[in-house]
Symmetry: C2
Subunit: 252 residues, 2 copies
């Protein structure tokens, strides 16, 4: 049997036109498009492992994926060839060889997501697919106070949608911060892992804080109560972007 | 006859899905969509005057238009109503009353356009509709030198496409500058007026300079020669954005 070679891809995509990352039989997905393009160039079926299963409409600025195959490929040529086949809303920035043990999914130490809220009255035409348009007034200072309460290790059961595959619910959040720039609120959250829809439910809860429905200092109790029905709505997918994933370079 | 009232609109649009600003019988245009929405809310046909006739695929961050009508309108309500009818890629930011003599087209003292070139090898998925993807290497320093040669008053006949309505060809350029940020080149040009396709032909010429096809110091001779065939190609529409228009506040 010939030697297996391992490759790592760094890609970006606008999720607007895709039913998420994960391959599906009856829907166009990012993984599906990418595996199709790789198979054409490599002349062999390829199965990708992705850092995250982003939902329909969610974007990624730096998505890491890996695959193995028999035989070897010229990574520069492969990258050019795949980009020539892919639609312009999916771009492979880089392909490199990696350790055969590397898993984009299981070796990720930290992931950072950014969520953007457009607070302008009429909505911005240019970033409409990348923001949640929320024209009602939001108290940003209160939202900033509330965001800080998510830092540290917590059981995030209250901030999880049905349908995830997680067996444990404790996650460690190292960064949880809101900045405002030109009527766009940007929420940045970094953690060692995230439950299903966790970022979007946290954002929905922060928006409740911004609208005065809950006080910032109520957040610790809401986390402790582990009750999905007491926290905010799931914020729309299109405002969410996987910003980056960090790995131990030993694993790669 | 009842009194005529004059109104000024400030809008933004992504031009990707439109055959330009100007109303056409058999194509979807920004002016057409806007006049349709205004007529529904105002219950009377409206004819807009726009600051510029942007081409198909060209965007506008701050587009000024004006119209007159008999009777008066609540400008805030009108703005909300029109935005509710318009597609999300056209947004009216503001509607105000203005002088009955005001013309968004003829009173514009200066207009600024921005043109963006994406020089990354694979192209950026997020700004693909707002940039010209040009992965071949460009000498930015040379392009910056060349850009400065467009400053001042010149006859720009060499940088004009057939089909414009201009009777005079001298324009005064007050700003012509290239900056680079994260593999995106941004060309900013301000002038008292522009000939048909002038910015896009200047950009095409600057890209020729960046590729070493012409030297920066050849620009003055190319301007003086008034020969369209000696300067660069017309850069793609999608990289161009009308950034702002300036008026004497006495006129408004």
């Amino acid at each position: 049997m010939s030697k297996m070679n391992a490759y790592k891809l760094q890609l970006m995509y606008e999720g607007t036109n895709y039913a998420g990352w994960q391959r599906q039989n009856n829907a166009v997905t990012v993984q599906g498009e990418l595996e199709k393009a790789l198979a054409v160039i490599l002349r062999t079926p390829v199965s990708l492992v992705g850092v995250s299963r982003t939902d329909a409409g969610v974007h990624a600025a730096n998505f890491i994926a890996n695959f193995q195959m028999e035989g070897s490929a010229d990574t520069k040529k492969l990258c050019r060839g795949v980009n020539a086949l892919l639609p312009p809303d999916i771009r492979v920035m880089n392909i490199t060889t990696c350790s055969p043990d590397f898993s984009a999914r299981f070796d990720a130490l930290r992931k950072t997501y950014i969520y953007r809220i457009d607070t302008s009255p009429c909505g911005n035409a240019f970033c409409r697919n990348f923001t949640w348009h929320h024209p009602a007034p939001l108290d940003v200072e209160k939202m900033q106070k509330a965001a800080a309460h998510f830092l540290g290790e917590h059981d995030f059961s209250a901030f999880m949608a049905q349908g995830g595959s997680a067996k444990t619910f404790t996650r460690n959040i190292m960064e949880s911060e809101i900045t405002e720039n030109n009527q766009i609120l940007e929420y940045r959250i970094t953690g060692n892992g995230f439950l299903y829809n966790m970022v979007r439910i946290i954002v929905g809860t922060l928006v409740w804080v911004g609208r005065g429905k809950i006080e910032p200092d109520a957040i610790p109790d809401l986390i402790a109560a582990k009750d999905r029905t007491r926290v905010g709505m799931t914020a729309p997918a299109k405002g969410l972007m996987l910003w980056q994933a960090e790995y131990d370079h030993q694993d790669m």
